[in-house]
């Protein structure tokens, strides 16, 4: 229970003010920071905090409904986890929500509060991980960006486990030249071992 407010933000979107008030109080008492919105459109238009967050989304709302909010988030490339709340759980809607990556689907009014808190905690944890992974990847791509095109090419071949001789033959350059490109790349990428380079293969290929 001892999560501190810094551990994450819950975005609560529900058109019913009584539900927003009740859930805000509940989640607040469980230690989460809660920001609530009265409609999907209001939420989608808001500037979101860069910290780990989880979305608690009412499925059926006038205007932009829950599924539409989820679709808009995923179109933006957001990796915010979404937990759905609904007063009339219909199987097809639940399936659709989960297929689009919803973390959970809870039915009003008698959902288990512990389960909700646990889901939000999982969501925040995943988002935190996702944010960390995102940050790391951004940093790796930044390093890769320092390479010249030839250096990146040589590094990619090396990451795939090819010997210098094979790389030289493939690229039609001398083995010595391959060695020079490779060592410069290793330095720019701040890597020590071939194993480190192998881990970068996907990133190198994606550029």
């Amino acid at each position: 229970m001892a999560a501190s407010p810094e551990s994450g933000i819950v975005y609560l979107i529900d058109d019913e003010i009584s539900v927003r008030d009740g859930l805000s109080l509940l989640l607040g008492s469980a230690g989460f920071a809660v920001t609530s919105f009265a409609s999907g459109a209001e939420f989608l238009a808001a500037d979101l905090d860069p910290n780990p967050a989880c979305v608690l989304l009412d499925l059926r709302m006038p205007g932009v409904d829950g599924l539409a909010v989820q679709a808009a988030l995923s179109k933006r490339g957001s990796n915010l986890p979404v937990v759905f709340l609904t007063a009339h759980g219909k199987v097809p809607e639940a399936v659709e929500a989960v297929q689009h990556g919803a973390l959970g689907f809870l039915e009003k009014p008698n959902f288990d509060h512990e389960a909700l808190i646990e889901l939000i905690r999982v969501g925040l944890c995943r988002h935190r991980q996702a944010l960390t992974e995102e940050a790391r990847k951004a940093e790796r791509l930044q390093r890769i960006a320092r390479l010249t095109e030839r250096e990146r090419e040589v590094a990619l071949h090396a990451a795939a486990g090819r010997a210098n001789k094979v790389i030289a033959a493939d690229l039609g350059i001398s083995e010595r030249t391959v060695e020079i490109h490779r060592s410069r790349a290793m330095k720019k990428l701040e890597l020590r071992s071939v194993a480190d380079l192998v881990r970068l293969e996907a990133d190198l290929a994606s550029v």
Partner: protein, 514 residues
């Protein structure tokens, strides 16, 4: 004035101048004809000319049988003429004459024979009156009396006539049947003696004045009357005042409406059952929305209560925060209770079948509250206007709400696939006799070929509908003495007009005062 038996009657004047007599006879309205012993016409006065169209010159000198007597009466007329000639007695007789254009006129005759010195009949003089028109009138009168008799005897309505003392003058077989009284036992008896329920005080003319004050000059009322055998009969009685033989009399038309009442009751029961089924159907349509409506406050209550528990367990809890949270719980629980109460009222199956006085505003508000969720989720803009001045209706509340709910749900459904803005208008318009609630939408409207059939049972344009909703609505409104109609709005969309009687308007009973 009495006459002395043996004093001779003095002649008014003595005709000395035969030309004066000729003139009198010529100008008289009396038909005057004289025949010789061979039945040839000798005298044929102007009145005869007028009655037959023949000129004296056409017929004088010719036999009366070849000119004026129809063939089928020759024998009879000759017999009369012979009797007169042989006995010389004055005779009265009726026969036909043929006119110039072939019509028959009925003439009533007094005939006299004038004999010569030898006692031979020389001339027969007939004076006649054309009674054709009189006879026709008498015939008509007889026909009319026969017709009246047949009407009275065969009418399915009981027909009774009462004089100004309340005494029974006429009592037809249908009245005997309906009231279980043979006419013989009640004729000439005052009505009040054997029908105490029906003695409105004939004597002082009060009833006649009351009838006269009405249009169309009759009083009508429903009455349950007792028969001598103790059974009771539901009747409708219409009373009219008539002058008869110089007295103020009253004609009563009595109809046995027991069967009608029974059918009405059956129809009402049937309608109630249908209405109940329709409410169940509407309810199943509403379930999703209602579940949502109830789930919302419950969710809020549960979350808030859970938060209160958490707050209570923490050492530094804030009393004010707890109190605010508990207050919200109470409010939300009340709200959930209200939704359930509305639902119960909606489902109630005519438990309160009696009409009650309901304000239009409360009717509209309650239905809109029940359907509020549907409106919000369907993105429908609501324009509501209450009638001014506020109207009160005399209706069965549950049924009136049902009709309104049906109309509004239909409007919402109609707009669900329509492009453009969705606007639902629910307007109260007050008029002199009633109130009209208009439900208008911005949907596609009603196809012209459907407008006529829209209130028929089993007519539907929706794939999953039995087509009972509007038909039941129509019956419900009709049973309230109101009117439900549908039309298309000039700017597009459908408009339903629900017209209902005002609570203070004269309605159900057509004036049956004691």
């Amino acid at each position: 004035m009495s006459q002395q038996p043996d004093s001779p009657i003095a002649p008014l004047f003595v005709i000395r101048d035969s030309s004066l007599l000729d003139n009198v006879l010529e100008l008289s309205e009396l038909l005057l004809v004289a025949l010789d012993s061979d039945a040839n016409i000798r005298v044929f006065n102007r009145a005869c000319e007028r009655a037959t169209g023949f000129k004296a010159a056409d017929v004088v000198g010719r036999s009366i049988f070849s000119t004026l007597i129809p063939d089928d009466e020759h024998e009879r007329v000759r017999a009369v003429a012979n009797t007169l000639a042989t006995t010389g007695e004055t005779s009265a007789y009726v026969n036909h004459w043929l006119t110039r254009d072939g019509q028959r006129r009925l003439i009533q005759w007094r005939n006299t024979a004038i004999s010569d010195a030898s006692g031979q009949v020389e001339i027969i003089v007939g004076t006649g009156i054309d009674v054709t028109d009189l006879d026709q009138a008498r015939q008509r009168e007889e026909d009319r009396a026969r017709l009246n008799q047949a009407l009275l005897a065969n009418a399915t309505e009981g027909i009774v006539m009462v004089d100004d003392k309340g005494r029974l003058l006429h009592f037809n077989p249908a009245a005997e049947r309906i009231l279980g009284q043979p006419a013989a036992t009640v004729l000439d008896h005052p009505v009040g003696e054997w029908l105490p329920d029906l003695d409105p005080g004939f004597a002082d003319g009060h009833l006649a004045r009351q009838i006269a004050s009405r249009t169309p000059g009759t009083i009508s009322c429903d009455a349950t009357l007792a028969r001598p055998d103790g059974s009771r009969v539901d009747t409708q009685l219409i009373v009219a005042a008539v002058e008869y033989e110089n007295r103020q009399c009253y004609l009563g038309f009595l109809q046995d409406i027991s069967e009608r009442k029974r059918l009405e009751h059956q129809v009402r029961t049937h309608l109630l059952e249908l209405a109940h089924l329709d409410r169940l159907r509407a309810l199943s349509d509403l379930t999703t929305g209602l579940a949502h409506e109830i789930a919302q406050p419950l969710t809020a209550v549960r979350s808030t209560a859970q938060a209160c528990l958490t707050l209570l367990r923490s050492p530094d809890n804030d009393r004010a925060e707890l109190e605010a949270a508990l207050t919200r719980i109470v409010q939300q629980t009340t709200h959930a209770g209200e939704i359930i109460a509305q639902l119960r009222a909606f489902l109630q199956r005519g438990e309160k079948a009696e009409p009650e006085v309901v304000s239009v505003a409360s009717l509209v508000d309650e239905v809109l509250q029940l359907l509020g969720h549907e409106l919000r989720t369907a993105d429908i803009k609501l324009i509501r206007k209450h009638c001014d001045p506020p109207c009160k209706l005399l209706v069965n509340r549950v049924q009136a709400e049902q009709v309104l709910a049906n109309l509004i749900t239909n409007a919402c459904e109609a707009m669900s696939t329509a492009p453009g803005e969705r606007i639902l208008e629910v307007l109260g318009v007050s008029g002199p006799e009633g109130c009209e609630i208009q439900v208008a939408d911005t949907g596609p409207g009603i196809a012209p070929e459907h407008l006529e059939r829209i209130f028929e049972p089993f007519f539907s344009t929706k794939p999953n509908s039995l087509g009972q909703g509007l038909s039941i609505c129509h019956s419900i409104v009709a049973s309230h003495g109101g009117r439900l109609s549908a039309e298309n709005r000039p700017g597009g969309g459908a408009l339903f007009r629900l017209q209902l009687l005002l609570a203070n308007a004269e309605g159900a009973c057509d004036g049956c005062e004691p």
